[in-house]
């Protein structure tokens, strides 16, 4: 094949590509995200919570095993920031321990289950057939037999074993919904011309999935991973509340709330300390998820809103 170069032709079409390199997509997403004050606050809160949860010995002289027997049911004070419980455990320390577990479980479950969803959903959507139908059916089944039910019924089996079992169980029953969304998205992407182009140039199906399909769903996956972190924290706290989740000696926010609920009217700090932490963590995860969605979605309407505000101010 001859490749004679025609300089005139080269110029005619190329003339209009902007000379200065426009901002990359990553930078654009970061900029949009940073502009969203709520989401930015959310991510800061999560990071701070996580850091403090692990570095609490730096701030507090007490350990979880220490019981200040002279100061039981102590309301929050300078010595015991979040007060103490019936046997004099420092609630701040207890809450940080609980936060460690809750957040770690949430993050692990969120990330692992989303990765699993991506692989299974994309495979099912791309190849169709048996995998596809089986998956759809399992999702339907999960609707009828919610994961909360399954895990709580199975809880006697893993009584006394490590909290990592709980992570596995939560992952096992959390990926289906996202997988279904991924599957739907794959069905759409599959009809895109660049996927057809890969097929018609002889690209193998697996390479097509990992080179063209999964990367193009990354926004969806990032947002869904965030949502999954939130729902994993929620599930865990619910299960632990009934004693079906994290088992002693481990504590999580759920187990702390369970013990605090009874005294919510008499010793409110026992309930409010872990409850507020849980709500703040979940709220932060939710606004971060939303902020990510806005930042990743090119049709984001934030600019319009800003413009409008400016107009209102002028008026």
């Amino acid at each position: 094949m001859s490749t004679t170069v025609n300089p005139a032709a080269a110029d005619e079409a190329a003339a209009d590509v902007p000379q200065s390199r426009p901002v990359s997509r990553g930078a654009l997403v970061r900029r949009r995200f940073m502009r969203n004050r709520w989401a930015l606050g959310g991510i800061i809160v999560i990071i701070v919570l996580y850091i403090v949860a692990f570095s609490y010995p730096l701030f507090s002289p007490y350990s979880y095993e220490f019981h200040d027997t002279t100061n039981t049911y102590d309301p929050p004070s300078l010595t015991h920031w979040f007060g103490t419980d019936n046997i004099g455990t420092d609630m701040f320390v207890a809450c940080m321990r609980g936060l460690q577990k809750s957040l770690t479980i949430g993050l692990l479950v969120g990330v692992i289950s989303t990765a699993l969803s991506a692989v299974v959903g994309a495979t099912a959507g791309f190849f169709g057939g048996i995998t596809d139908r089986a998956m759809m059916w399992i999702v339907d089944l999960l609707l009828v037999l919610p994961s909360f039910l399954i895990i709580s019924i199975a809880s006697p089996i893993f009584k006394g074993s490590s909290w990592l079992i709980l992570v596995v169980l939560l992952v096992l029953f959390q990926w289906m919904i996202t997988a279904r969304i991924v599957r739907g998205m794959t069905l759409t992407l599959k009809t895109r011309e660049y996927v057809s182009a890969a097929r018609f140039m002889g690209q193998s199906p697996w390479r097509t999935i990992f080179k063209h399909i999964v990367p193009n769903m990354s926004s969806l996956l990032i947002v869904d991973a965030t949502i999954n972190v939130g729902s994993a924290v929620l599930q865990e706290s619910g299960l632990s509340y009934f004693g079906f989740g994290v088992q002693p000696p481990d504590v999580s926010l759920g187990t702390l709330i369970a013990t605090g609920t009874g005294s919510a009217l008499t010793f409110p700090w026992l309930f409010y300390a872990p409850a507020v932490l849980l709500v703040v963590a979940l709220l932060s995860v939710a606004v971060v998820g939303d902020g990510l969605r806005d930042a990743l979605d090119p049709t984001s309407s934030r600019a319009r809103r800003r413009e409008k505000k400016r107009k209102d101010k002028l008026a």
Binding site: N6, A13, A14, D16, R21, E193, M201, G202
Partner: protein, 724 residues
């Protein structure tokens, strides 16, 4: 269809004063966006008289639709609007929603671009038309009367069996029928002004012809002024009285339709006219590519917005934006160009005739070619052996593809079979372009996918480069893929947005095991070949314009040095000014690299320009095939004749003289095609036949028979008819 069935309201005569129906003056519209304020319309001024048709022409983003939505008061609330919009003397800007709603639908009505989404899916078509009547006739009109009137209206816009169809939901209507229903709604209250925003863009050509006909009827029935907005210079040539050309939010030329086509005084208009391939050109004309792309409306450069793309631009063009000023005081022809006198001079110098086509605006086209410096790619005709001696690169024989029709969303069950492709045969020889044309649903895309899939077909056979695909194993199939590559329709969807274009072009070479050094060397060569710069290899597809992306797609297809290129509507998603450049590139590549093309398209003008041979498909069958000049010059199948006659020609004089064949009804369902000849249900020729001849059409499927040198037609009663 008869106008007398509709009784005119007295109110039609109300505003029938001498003044214009609509006067738009100094209209400015801007929107906020991420990048800053988008100045969509800038200082637009025009007026429409009663019974007059004004065509507004422009490419995407020129502000033509925004300006019409501003008239209707339907812009989103964050739009900032200034200037003046007077309807029959009444200022519309600043009116409240309630006040405007009394005018909308009664005195001004609108027809939108996308008929598929323009109707509320949950109400019946009849109810929606009746609603338009009831809103404005409250108290005066009973529900039953409104229902009766909606049947009349549907009948008027040419929906067969209207009394039954009013009860149908929008999803049960085809696109063309929905657009008719929208037009019925628009004329329901005998408005004084109808705004039609790209009313036929989403439709097939034969349906477009039907809808334009309905719009003409609407004009006659209501006597309203019409504003028709389009990007297609052909559509407005025959229909409008005056023309307004928009570019970058401004009117750049306006005037009597003949004058604008024959003596364009703005280089942009001139370029547009020169960039259109003509259906009636027996000989290949050079196509004018307008380089570059329209400016961003966020921060417009100083001076004439077209200057960066204009071959006539001088330094003065960059200092101030030219006003729309009169070039001919007698006819009111205006242009926004300081060089219009030079343009007139160039036009006076060129010959006012072109070989191979009789055009009323020949001088303008010649001038365009002269000004923009377009050249015809000369094919090395002498070096080419006669067709019969060249090897066949693609042979399709009696190809069949059936789809199962399923019902139900969750539990699918088979309820029938669609005969998407039913016995299609053709061949493509070396260095030849075969155009495969037909309207949506004719099976051309399915045929293409069958060929590209390289799987054993359900019936018939496909051979690529002499190898029957049903005998291929995985390895051989991959080897064949090297010789047959594809370019897709949508330049936006055909490139993976997450890959730099260098990787996009490298992918096929990686798949076929080329080493990295070779690939590195090839990428700049390929970019060069399609007219892009080598240093752009690390940029992402989003940084390129539509035309450039299509060039990248072509570079990817050429990476493996194929012999056959399958082109699936490669230019139909591009604006006309960009389209010409890509067509010229394809022409050039074919000549330089000795490629063969299978060119699938619905735009017959483009096919006439680029193809050597053409095959016309209808309902899964080829009805006519042969050399381009034979099929276009002397079409013998009634469907080909109707198809060709439906295509508007960008030449107002010629367009008004043409006889148009309007097909009745819609495409029959491919799940249940008519017996015998599949076209007979809509065939105008069939209707004139004697009973015994008609029976032949019903009972016997017409075979494809030779009608001269390289011209085959599948019609029992094939006869030539001049239609273009």
């Amino acid at each position: 269809m008869s106008a007398s069935e509709i009784t005119l309201d007295e109110s039609v005569l109300d505003g029938a004063g001498d003044g214009p129906v609509l006067e738009v003056a100094d209209l400015d519209v801007s929107f906020p966006s991420e990048a800053g304020r988008v100045h969509a319309v800038r200082g637009l001024t025009y007026e429409v008289a009663r019974g007059e048709v004004l065509g507004i022409v422009g490419e995407s983003g020129s502000g033509k639709s925004v300006s019409s939505l501003a008239v209707m008061g339907l812009l989103p609330e964050q739009a900032r609007i200034s200037g003046s919009i007077r309807f029959q003397g009444q200022q519309l800007l600043g009116l409240s929603d309630v006040q405007l709603s009394k005018i909308r639908g009664r005195r001004i009505s609108m027809v939108f671009q996308d008929p598929l989404s323009a109707l509320t899916p949950v109400y019946t078509v009849g109810d929606q038309i009746a609603e338009a009547l009831l809103i404005h006739g409250r108290g005066r009109l009973s529900k039953a009367a409104a229902a009766n009137r909606s049947v009349e209206l549907l009948d008027l816009v040419g929906i067969p069996n209207a009394a039954a169809r009013v009860k149908a939901f929008p999803h049960e209507f085809s696109g063309g029928m929905r657009q008719r229903a929208v037009i019925a709604m628009a004329i329901a209250n005998d408005p004084d002004l109808i705004i039609a925003d790209e009313p036929t863009t989403a439709l097939d050509v034969t349906v477009q012809a039907q809808v334009l006909e309905v719009l003409k009827t609407a004009k006659e029935v209501t006597g309203a002024g019409i504003v028709i907005i389009t990007h297609d210079l052909g559509v407005v040539a025959g229909f409008s009285d005056r023309l307004l050309v928009m570019y970058a939010g401004r009117a750049v030329e306006s005037g009597n339709v003949n004058e604008v086509y024959q003596q364009p005084r703005m280089p942009y208009t001139l370029g547009l006219l020169g960039s259109l391939p003509r259906l009636d050109a027996a000989e290949k004309l050079p196509l004018v590519p307008i380089h570059g792309q329209p400016p961003s409306l966020v921060d417009l450069p100083q001076g004439c917005p077209f200057a960066p793309r204009c071959p006539l631009a001088v330094d003065d063009c960059l200092t101030a934006e030219p006003e729309l000023s009169e070039v001919d005081s007698t006819s009111g022809h205006r242009a926004a160009c300081i060089r219009s006198a030079e343009l007139a001079a160039t036009e006076a110098e060129v010959e006012d005739s072109i070989d191979g086509v009789e055009a009323s605006n020949a001088a303008a086209i010649e001038a365009a070619v002269e000004v923009f410096g377009a050249e015809l790619v000369e094919e090395p005709k002498a070096a080419l052996r006669p067709r019969a001696e060249r090897p066949v690169v693609l042979e399709v024989d009696s190809l069949v593809k059936h789809f199962a029709v399923t019902k139900g969303v969750v539990l699918k069950r088979k309820v029938g079979t669609v005969h998407a492709v039913d016995g299609v045969s053709f061949e493509v020889r070396e260095q030849e372009t075969l155009g495969l044309v037909g309207e949506s649903g004719c099976g051309k895309t399915t045929t293409l996918m069958q060929i590209l899939g390289l799987e054993r077909p359900a019936g018939g056979s496909i051979s690529v480069l002499g190898r029957d695909v049903s005998t291929l194993d995985g390895k051989a199939r991959k080897a064949i893929r090297r010789d047959m590559q594809v370019v897709f329709q949508d330049p936006l969807a055909s490139l993976d947005p997450r890959m730099p274009i260098g990787d996009v072009i490298a992918e096929p070479m990686q798949v076929h095991g080329f080493d990295a050094t070779h690939i590195r060397k090839r990428i700049p060569e390929l970019l060069d070949l399609v007219g892009l710069r080598a240093e752009h290899a690390d940029r992402y597809p989003a940084e390129f314009s539509g035309g450039q992306r299509q060039r990248i797609g072509i570079a990817r297809a050429l990476a493996l040095e194929p012999k056959l290129l399958v082109l699936d509507e490669p230019v139909s998603a591009l604006d006309v000014s960009i389209q010409a450049g890509v067509i010229n590139l394809l022409d050039k590549l074919k000549a330089e690299l000795g490629l063969s093309y299978l060119f699938v398209a619905h735009d017959l003008s483009v096919v006439r320009h680029i193809a050597d041979r053409v095959a016309v498909m209808y309902l899964g069958k080829i009805v006519e095939i042969g050399a381009v000049d034979a099929v276009f010059g002397e079409p013998k199948h009634p469907y080909t004749q109707a198809l060709l006659s439906a295509i508007p020609i960008p030449d107002p004089v010629k367009e008004r003289q043409r006889e148009r064949i309007i097909l009745s009804g819609d495409l029959p369902s491919p799940a249940n095609p008519p017996s015998g000849c599949r076209f007979r249900t809509r065939c105008f020729l069939h209707a004139t036949l004697s009973d015994s001849d008609k029976r032949k059409c019903v009972e016997v499927e017409p075979p494809r028979e030779s009608q001269g040198d390289d011209h085959e037609v599948a019609c029992h009663f094939a006869r030539a008819k001049q239609v273009v």
